[in-house]
Symmetry: C2
Subunit: 202 residues, 2 copies
């Protein structure tokens, strides 16, 4: 496995290649790409080493090949189905962003809630009861979930996801989820982000 911090940087490089246009042609030097990404060129070269032989010393990287290798390494060369749990405030905002996620290779295939509300007209993703989750995950082979439930029910909802074979969770609830080894959890805790920033403005 590639270390998690390196995987983050590979995603970052993937985004930076967008500077070179969607049809990205030509080459880019490790110095230029490293500058856009805000890392040292030695770090960039080391990270890209995980994607197989791509660059030639002195000639830089072929942009189209680099993009393809990054998509293969990151697993985004095919559209990944994702389920979203918790269609309240934050969950609904993420459901409206469906096109944004699709452009990045992710499809929120369905959303689930303990109290499924009537869907608002601008949300095209189906909103289903939790009783339908197991069947949906099995039918679509879903492996990834976004969790937008309150902290008090996050572990319980997480357990339901794990029982149904989910292997990766993007968690917005401000709690640390207990998960077995082999399950990847990324936490987005907006309060910690703000607290981190407040340190720098004292």
């Amino acid at each position: 496995f590639i270390p998690r911090k390196t995987v983050y940087r590979l995603s970052l490089y993937n985004r930076c290649l967008e500077h070179f246009g969607q049809n990205g042609s030509g080459t880019v030097s490790s110095e230029t790409l490293a500058k856009i990404a805000g890392v040292k060129p030695t770090q960039l070269r080391k990270d890209l080493g995980y994607c197989g032989q791509i660059g030639k010393r002195g000639l830089g990287y072929d942009v189209a090949l680099l993009r393809q290798r990054l998509a293969e390494t990151l697993g985004t060369s095919r559209l990944q189905p994702v389920v979203l749990i918790g269609t309240g405030n934050l969950g609904s905002a993420l459901l409206r962003y469906q096109e944004g996620f699709a452009k990045e290779g992710f499809e929120i295939a369905a959303a689930f809630d303990a109290l499924p509300q009537k869907r608002s007209p601008d949300i095209s993703v189906p909103i289903l009861a939790m009783t339908e989750l197991a069947g949906f995950i099995a039918a679509r082979g879903v492996k990834m979930a976004i969790l937008c439930v309150p902290g008090t029910s996050a572990q319980e909802a997480c357990n339901v996801l794990l029982q149904n074979g989910i292997q990766a969770i993007l968690n917005f609830a401000p709690v640390i989820l207990q998960t077995p080894a082999g399950v990847a959890v990324n936490n987005v805790n907006l309060a910690i982000e703000l607290e981190n920033l407040s340190y720098f403005i004292q």
Copy 2:
């Protein structure tokens, strides 16, 4: 300055202390706290060293004192005013979370948008035109902002914030903001979070 990665961990320890109840009494050993936070005890002891002398070898840390020291170090012992730019989909969801942020020591004092819409009834934060931003920041001494505008206008909105003395930005737009040294920017890029997870489920 404390390294940014360490500041994140200090915020994490601050959250973990909530396990010991809001009135947190008694002591906690570095082993116990490290286990809850998911770090090694040596890392925890090194990090807490930035908060002054708090623990006694063998006796652990006093929970109430540790909380106080962390709040002082992180700058969250007083309510920080924050402005939010971009009251679309995501911005509105964050505005409805006002109580959640207040509990953590942050107050979204006002929100601004290029096209301020009529506020929905469940949002209590005032939504103003961008022309009122400079006056508001000066009157309230705001130093921190949350940016929820599209990627195409993020740099422009960021420049307006910098001109008005904002020193820390929580950025949701999927672009890397160019800012002078001394300005702290934390990026939340949900597509990169999902891409990072998709690597682990291949």
